[in-house]
Symmetry: C2
Subunit: 302 residues, 2 copies
Amino acid sequence: MICAADAWGIGSHGLIRLPYYLTRITAGGISASAELVAEKSMTTLQVLNGQNGLGHWQLWQAASTAAEIAQIHGSSAVAVRSSSHAGALGLFTWPGIKRDCLTFLFSNAPAVMPAWGGSTPLLSTSPLAIGVPGMPTQLIIDLATSAVARGKIAAKAKIGEPIPAGWALDREGNPTTDAQSALMGMLAPLGGAKGFALAMAVETLTGGLVGPHLAKGMPDMFNPEDNSRPQQISHFVISVNAAFIDDSQYQRISELQNNVINSGSRVPGASKLHPLELSGDIELNLTNEVIDEIDAWREKLS
Amino acid sequence: MICAADAWGIGSHGLIRLPYYLTRITAGGISASAELVAEKSMTTLQVLNGQNGLGHWQLWQAASTAAEIAQIHGSSAVAVRSSSHAGALGLFTWPGIKRDCLTFLFSNAPAVMPAWGGSTPLLSTSPLAIGVPGMPTQLIIDLATSAVARGKIAAKAKIGEPIPAGWALDREGNPTTDAQSALMGMLAPLGGAKGFALAMAVETLTGGLVGPHLAKGMPDMFNPEDNSRPQQISHFVISVNAAFIDDSQYQRISELQNNVINSGSRVPGASKLHPLELSGDIELNLTNEVIDEIDAWREKLS
């Protein structure tokens, strides 16, 4: 799953993060023995508790459960509380795509972005993802509602490069091109007020409705002092049985996708393969620094 | 419902549109006798046919049905095909808010925006809205995934004013500040590739999955030649029982809203009252031109 992010070209959410996850597991911030347990449920709504386990397998399982319920009943929602960072959110549209279901995913994380017009970080990058089964190509959209994802800044910091102007603000709210200052500061919302509105919705649906924590005050994966503190991230999944709706949808979506390609653009997610269907000869683009860190961990854990 | 858009400050979707609706009803493009009939259903998924009726009452009814199902079963999805323009999408979060349910709304319309990097209009403004019950204040986000809503350009055209740079492209894809050229041309997606991704998802969920039409080729409310042609717009509603998820959500969302207000920002939708709870002494901001047109229709229909 983590390698898939690299294969998808989302290096900021790939193996570069593995040392952070391993450090947090070793320090107790992520529980390796966690289970995903049902706290309460209605016919098509489940609330799960992740017991501070790794987000990747928990969100994959939650999205699979959501799709299975939607196949039977038409729709579903699954909330996961007390989980951890799950990496590239778009990955978790695949359990739905494989079952001819739509998937809507929302997740929270530490606050790195102010409200529109505000000067205090209150919102995470507030990512959302939407997946539609292949007709003929799967549609996967996966975006932070900030101008850029925080992981992109972390990747720049890792290789010691500056960030472009417009991506972020420093701790005092001033524009900065220094990746480290940006990591300690705040991101700007996508397109101003609209990005803030989307981020506010994502934070309300995750930290607010599901909990147990808002983005503000959440332990930070990139802050070594927080390594032993569980992040208690919340995820929210909605699934809908897409195939049931109409017999002509394949034809129309295929026409839409062809129109997009013929106009000189591309279908978002068309190249984002299922994590288990990545062939062994896909080349991952890793820096020497990341490879060295992973090698060091391999020795450490023998 | 139409007055509520004016009361919400969304003049572009308010009474300014009434003459267009009346013209289309008279010409046959909107059916005044349409019913909203169920075509097929699963426990928590309904597909309705609007028979070319007015979108306002049809989407209100669809959102009410969605919330009622979600109250019982936890979640729901309702697709409406062959409907018409429904005005300000955020209005239709109120049936859910009143029933302690989340509402997600998507709608399509004539193509006015190219794919990212493309030069042909393929996507509508691809609006989406999300509503969360009041904890303590309702959250209503309602946005076009274009840089601006087409209605804002129509409002400028109506009063003969130019539009700001960056809102739109002319028919050939060149930037323009002329509102009429922009209405005949294309809009730019919100924040570039991310706005396109969102718009592509909205179009896939509405015109693609539900149909019967893609945005491309859809009859245009602002083109007199199209007055007798039904638009056959599609709407897609998802609802989730919010109150069931967690007992502490009111407390957390209230804290989030207070943090947003105290940081100098505001809660999106806080001032957007329920259409039936607008008091009689709210002043609507209408131009003389709109008042004259409505007066002319009043005489015509006596």
